[in-house]
């Protein structure tokens, strides 16, 4: 069951169910009269529910939402009409929205007179205003929220100054009912997490605070590939390993950072895509299996004459390492730096003059009993279409650990005294106090009280003599800080004594504001500047606040905002939940899913950075593409794997989100497009009006059932809608998905779609192509013919609804909680500001952080 949420259509129905179950018996008890005063227009007149409103509801809505028939499970007489203090205000809000939009009563039903409509709207509006106020009084929302996995990762990195996979052992996070990962109410805490937090804290501190001498650095460098390190046997059925360059690393630290520097240039025929270097690290545990993991990839744009040096970094413990004992009779027991050459689409490049193992056929299974063979074959000679493309490696160098200073910066940042360590016990005491005070203030994102500090010092002193060193005792004490609720949660305390009587709202403190800002725009802790401004109580001054938001948005760390917000708003994780059927799409490479997600993120980033109108998300005459996606879409585009802005001249199919692979594929079933999923996505994510989830026991549309076989999809949908149980909802859903039928499951354009006829149909059981009919009539009667008209319609006719959807999603994300009636005013105001500012996202962000909802708790 979903939780209630502002203007969330789905909750309307769910809520009604809750009401039916929860309130039925209460209603037999005498019902208190609800009274609400209205605005100046009807000053003096007091509307009462039983006298003025109830008869109207009965007359206008009773047929469908009454005791006999409760469409969408909504029976109005069961709702609590005590708006301010009852439980159903959110449902009533939805009722009001529907009435205001003219959707209810439906056009075919009897319509209210002007006076009747006024009574309804005024009673609801006034009552809901009261409800919003009383909601504030109750202070009933979760404001304290745990750091998400990614926030924790970023915060630990920024706090300790060490790049580590801190979140490795944390369980995945649940999505909140409104689709966010950072919703305080959904983020639970469990023993598993506490254990993982403590373990990560210790791992990080072991790395950040060092003891002892500068460790030995392992360095290897070669100009020529070291093929002898590889086994020369290839065994059937195993991924052949044909790296273009191998550097053997005999000795290395088991943990720590490494750096690989590659000097290389390329021969690139005119206009050809840039070739790419792919670096992986692996080892040799056996003769047939070379486990390896990719470190990174980079375009080689430089010439052979003036080669470029590429630097890759990673943590060596994240890559496959050999065991302690060499395998079999191979004397090499180190790690290998492996370099491959790939084209812009990620496929391995083949070089004349070398032989390669042919990988076993990917999709076709080998006949039973036969083992797949791996034959060696020479690379094909260059042709006019595939001219010779070459990378020349001048040198590959490996180094680990990477030490730029000793002790490292992470160490001296925490233990700032360096060599001037305190000598006497008294000095040490002061020093400890200083170290802990500084660290804890950054970790807690606010000044630390004397009491808090005292407890930490006592702990330090208690374990000091038992610990092997001063540093070890310090690590353990700092670990204490890193499992404190003040660190793991974003805490906003309530100051009860100063609570103003008329409102439960309290202004945010400057430090709290700094955290809200930094977790909103960077998904991490505030930086020094934000802390300084908070300390001087400058941050909350409107001018400074705006200036800071602009600074934060232009900082690289704001990429994190674009990524996280896009992922959650557009549900990009859904790409992983669709398995593309290789029988239908043998060419489809799963790596494209990553590119698709990246395209949608980059698109949002471009809207933000270039200050484009957010309406471009609905339809645009440009998009962002890289080489592999352009190839997939069948377009000419950039030569490299970097995303670039591309103008869509004349053909706008790929404009906006609806022309992007991420949306199209994630809302398919891996074989066919899924118009219902696509429609629901549009209604939910772009218009914030999701339809109700399907009721229990509804069969899914099955293309192979006798009645539906051989029909085009649109015809099947129509047949499905004719069923009484389905039609009610699907009349409002399907028309939004049908215009997208020209895009197949993996987002490619199609003029015909495959339909399977069963054996009874003429011609027997087979798959046939049926021309796509992408014309549709939207619920408001608008005729739409195909994708471009749908996008145009959304952009022209639904811009206000879309604006509100953007504002609602962004605000929920920024606040890290579900919105409620108390936020209604903020949403209303922000929506108008957003529309007035021509739908600029950066302007919306600036307005949002200065809104009441953002600045109060």
């Amino acid at each position: 069951m979903r939780e209630n949420r502002l203007s969330f259509l789905g909750s309307l129905f769910c809520f009604a169910v809750a009401v039916v179950i929860g309130l039925a018996d209460q209603l037999s008890v005498a019902v208190a009269e609800s009274v609400a005063t209205t605005d100046a227009a009807s000053a003096g007149e007091i509307l009462t529910f039983t006298r003025d409103v109830e008869p109207l509801l009965q007359k206008l809505c009773g047929d469908c939402h009454g005791a006999k028939k409760a469409k969408q499970d909504l029976q109005l007489s069961l709702l609590d009409h005590e708006l301010a203090n009852g439980n159903d205000a959110e449902t009533w809000q939805d009722v009001l929205d529907r009435v205001n939009l003219g959707e209810m009563p439906p056009p075919k039903a009897k319509q209210p007179t002007k006076a009747e409509r006024r009574i309804l709207v005024e009673w609801l509006t006034a009552g809901l205003r009261e409800a919003a106020k009383s909601k504030r009084h109750a202070a009933g929302r979760v404001v304290m929220r745990r750091l998400t996995r990614y926030e924790y990762q970023n915060t630990m990195r920024d706090l300790l100054g060490v790049e580590l996979n801190y979140a490795a052992e944390l369980p995945p996070e649940p999505l909140s009912p409104d689709g966010f990962l950072n919703n305080g109410a959904s983020l639970e805490m469990s023993p598993t997490q506490i254990e993982a937090f403590l373990k990560s804290a210790r791992l990080g501190l072991d790395e950040a605070i060092v003891s002892g001498d500068r460790p030995e650095v392992h360095r290897y460098q070669k100009e020529k590939t070291d093929v002898g390190r590889l086994p020369n046997k290839r065994v059937a059925g195993h991924e052949p390993v044909n790296p273009e360059f191998i550097l053997g690393v005999d000795t290395f630290p088991r943990r720590g950072e490494f750096e690989v520097r590659i000097q290389a240039g390329a021969i690139i025929p005119d206009g050809h895509d840039f070739p790419r270097l792919r670096l992986s690290m692996g080892c040799l545990p056996g003769i047939i299996h070379v486990p390896r993991k990719v470190v990174g990839e980079v375009d080689v744009r430089a010439s052979v004459e003036e080669p470029e040096t590429f630097v890759f970094r990673g943590r060596i413990e994240d890559f496959p390492q050999p065991g302690d004992v060499p395998f079999g009779n191979i004397d090499f027991n180190g790690m290998m730096v492996l370099v491959d050459f790939v084209d812009a689409g990620g496929k391995e490049l083949r070089y004349p003059g070398r032989t390669y193992a042919v990988p076993p056929p990917k999709k076709k299974p080998t006949p039973k009993g036969k083992k797949p063979t791996v034959a060696a074959y020479p690379a094909p000679p260059p042709t006019a279409e595939n001219p010779r493309l070459d990378i020349v490696i001048k040198s590959v160098e490996f180094e680990s650990p990477v030490i730029t200073a000793w002790p490292p910066k992470s160490h001296s940042q925490i233990l700032f005294a360096g060599d001037a360590k305190p000598q006497t016990p008294d000095d040490e005491k002061l020093y400890v106090q200083d170290v802990l005070g500084r660290f804890a203030a950054r970790a807690f994102r606010r000044p630390v009280s004397a009491d808090e500090l005292r407890a930490m010092i006592e702990f330090f002193e208690a374990i000091r003599s038992e610990s092997s060193s001063f540093e070890e005792a310090m690590r353990e004490t700092l670990a204490l800080v890193l499992v404190s609720p003040h660190f793991l949660y974003i805490v906003e305390t309530r100051d009860e004594p100063t609570l103003p009587k008329q409102s439960g709202k309290q202004p945010l403190g400057d430090f709290e504001l700094a955290s809200r800002l930094s977790y909103f725009l960077w998904s991490s802790m505030p930086d020094d500047r934000l802390f300084d401004l908070a300390k001087e109580q400058e941050l909350s001054k409107p001018q400074i606040l705006e200036q800071e938001v602009r600074r934060m948005l232009s900082d690289d760390r704001s990429t994190e905002f674009v990524t996280r917000f896009a992922d959650q708003w557009f549900d990009l994780a859904a790409l992983d939940r669709v398995a593309v059927n290789p029988e239908f799409y043998p060419e489809f490479d799963n790596g494209l899913k990553l590119q698709m997600a990246a395209q949608t993120r980059e698109f949002l980033a471009e809207v933000l950075r270039s200050k484009e109108s957010c309406l471009d998300l609905l339809d645009s005459d440009w998009t962002v593409l890289n080489r592999s996606l352009a190839m997939h879409y069948g377009m000419t585009g950039p030569r490299s794997s970097k995303f670039e802005r591309v103008a869509l001249r004349g053909d706008q199919r790929r404009g906006g989100l609806l022309g992007q692979g991420a949306f199209l594929l994630s809302n398919s079933d891996g074989q066919q497009p899924h118009p219902i999923k696509r429609a629901v996505w549009i209604l939910d994510r772009l218009l914030d009006s999701p339809p109700a989830p399907p009721p229990p026991d509804v069969p899914e549309l099955d293309s192979e059932s006798p009645g539906l076989a051989g029909l085009s999809l649109k015809e099947q949908l129509a047949a499905h809608r004719d069923k009484e149980a389905c039609g009610n909802c699907h009349r409002g859903i399907d028309p939004w998905g049908v215009p997208l039928e020209n895009f197949n499951a993996v987002g490619l354009w199609q003029e015909t779609s495959a339909v399977r006829r069963d054996g009874k149909a003429k011609g027997g059981k087979k798959t046939v192509g049926v021309p796509v009919d992408a014309s549709s009539i939207l619920p408001d009667g608008t005729k739409i013919d195909g994708l471009n008209e749908l996008k145009k319609y959304l952009r022209e006719n639904r811009r206000e609804l879309f604006a509100r959807a953007v504002v609602t999603r962004l605000t929920a994300y920024a606040l890290g909680r579900s919105l409620d009636l108390g936020d209604r005013r903020t949403i209303d105001e922000l929506t108008s500001v957003f529309i007035e500012s021509d739908f600029r996202l950066n302007q919306l962000i600036v307005s949002l952080v200065s809104s009441e909802s953002f600045l109060t708790k």
């Binding site: 069951m1 769910c14 169910v17 009933g140 929302r141 979760v142 404001v143 304290m144 929220r145 745990r146 052992e169 369980p171 995945p172 649940p174 999505l175 909140s176 009912p177 109410a185 959904s186 639970e188 805490m189 469990s190 023993p191 506490i194 254990e195 403590l198 056996g286 047939i288 299996h289 808090e452 407890a455 702990f459 374990i463 038992e466 092997s468 353990e476 670990a479 204490l480 499992v483 609720p485 003040h486 949660y489 805490v491 305390t493 309530r494 009860e496 859904a574 939940r577 669709v578 398995a579 059927n581 079933d669 891996g670 229990p696 509804v698 899914e700 099955d702 192979e704 059932s705 069963d758």
Partner: protein, 440 residues
């Protein structure tokens, strides 16, 4: 990726038959201790989502239905459960059971309640303790780890679409582990034997204590809902403290020496065959080394689970959810049945391994109860769960039968029977009305 190099290799404990010493607890005599070591009793629960095909008896695809034909001792397995045939002396299949509290819930909401039998009360989601946690609490400190909670998706998942089967006494979801590597580490990775580790373990106790103090003083400055969040925090910290104390007691006992290369620890759900096998292997290993006696595994959740793509691994079209919805259509039961058969093959392999492992005067399976099934029959139907119970012939259970029940019998009665079989003095769980007749 081809992983044949570690398939079918038997999991070997280095120096097989390692004598697993338990720490000597006060109040436990040596002989009791020895008995507990040689004869541990265990409970394992495995759930899959979306239900099964239920074609009528005269349906042409009846043999792809999950439930057997016939009843009682006179039953015939269909294709789906055929893989269990050699094991039927240790298996009972049940028809007609479900949780009465959950029958009216949304069809996809019942993953959360498979082991809790609780009504989630639409809107105000509250769950209760699950069978495994209830048992784990009562088994207590007999093992290093109280219980193992696993799922393909990992974590807890969204409410009503949870990705875990386990719930604490307060009804809080227990996050499931999903990555074989992490599961292995949780089982065998914590060797606290070094000096630093010992000291740190000791520190952990004080750290957790102090953190709880901080939480308590923070409480006064927060609103009601936030205080609930702190409750959650404090309960979790308290539990880790208990785990730390337990670890300290186990310090003198060396961890079993297990060869990690015997399991496909790099398997992930992209390769379902290897993955499901690795998970069963890990549960087997956890039982064999007596690291724990309680485990749950959720093969997939009812939500947007990774497991939706699983049927593709044996060449079936569409996703799991789609297959389930199509199971009533022509040819649909066969496709669904083929996938359910695949799942049954995996279960059979796990049971066979338990049966082939001698223990005391019998085999591991003789004292291990494996509950297996789904909380839907046809998809969205919260009645007539497909269920079976395997193992426990030395715990007084009768097997080799297909028992059918009316809706008057709640599934919790099976839970009570299971708990009694493993020696717990329990006569009530959730909405139970007694034990399950015909099982003992």
């Amino acid at each position: 990726m081809n992983k044949s190099w570690h398939l079918d290799r038997r999991t070997v404990l280095k120096g097989a038959g390692v004598a697993l010493a338990l720490p000597f607890f006060e109040g436990m005599s040596r002989s009791e201790e020895a008995k507990a070591v040689s004869q541990p009793k265990r409970i394992c629960s495995v759930m899959f989502p979306y239900g099964i095909a239920v074609p009528k008896d005269d349906h042409p695809e009846r043999d792809w239905g999950w439930f057997p034909r016939g009843e009682g001792k006179d039953y015939q397995l269909t294709n789906v459960l055929k893989p269990l045939e050699p094991l039927m002396d240790q298996v009972s299949i049940f028809g007609g059971l479900s949780h009465p509290n959950c029958r009216a819930m949304n069809g996809h909401d019942t993953g959360d309640t498979f082991l809790t039998a609780n009504n989630l009360e639409a809107g105000s989601y509250r769950n209760k303790i699950s069978l495994d946690q209830f048992v784990a609490l009562r088994f207590g400190d007999a093992t290093r780890i109280r219980s193992l909670t696993l799922s393909t998706d990992g974590g807890i998942g969204p409410r009503t679409r949870s990705t875990t089967l386990s719930y604490t006494p307060k009804g809080q979801p227990v996050p499931a582990l999903s990555e074989p590597k992490l599961i292995f580490q949780r089982l065998f990775g914590q060797d606290d034997a070094s000096q630093t580790d010992r000291r740190r373990l000791q520190n952990s106790a004080s750290i957790l204590d102090l953190v709880r103090d901080q939480s308590k003083s923070l409480r006064n400055n927060l609103g009601k809902p936030d205080q609930r969040k702190l409750d959650e925090f404090e309960t979790s910290v308290r539990e880790v403290e208990e785990r730390v104390e337990r670890s300290q007691r186990w310090l003198s006992v060396p961890l079993p020496d297990v060869d990690p290369s015997s399991i496909a620890l790099d398997a992930d759900p992209d390769g379902p065959k290897d993955y499901i096998r690795a998970i069963y292997d890990l549960m087997f290993l956890a039982f064999q080394t007596d690291m724990t006696r309680v485990a749950t595994y959720q093969i997939g959740s009812y939500g947007p689970t990774i497991a939706r793509t699983f049927p593709a691994c044996i060449g079936l079209p569409g996703n799991w959810h789609g297959l389930a919805h199509g199971a009533g259509k022509k040819g649909g039961a066969e496709q669904m049945g083929k996938f359910d058969q695949f799942l049954a093959q995996n279960l059979a392999r796990f049971l066979t391994r338990l049966q082939e492992s001698p223990e005391g005067d019998g085999t591991m399976l003789d004292r291990t109860l494996v509950l297996y099934g789904s909380s839907n029959s046809k998809t969205h139907q919260n009645r007539n769960y497909p269920l079976l119970l395997a193992g426990g012939s030395q715990l007084g259970l009768t097997h080799n039968q297909y028992l059918r029940f009316s809706e008057k019998t709640p599934m919790s009665n099976l839970f009570v029977s299971m708990m009694q079989a493993v020696g717990l003095e329990v006569d009530q769980f959730a909405d139970s009305t007694g034990t399950l007749s015909g099982l003992s």
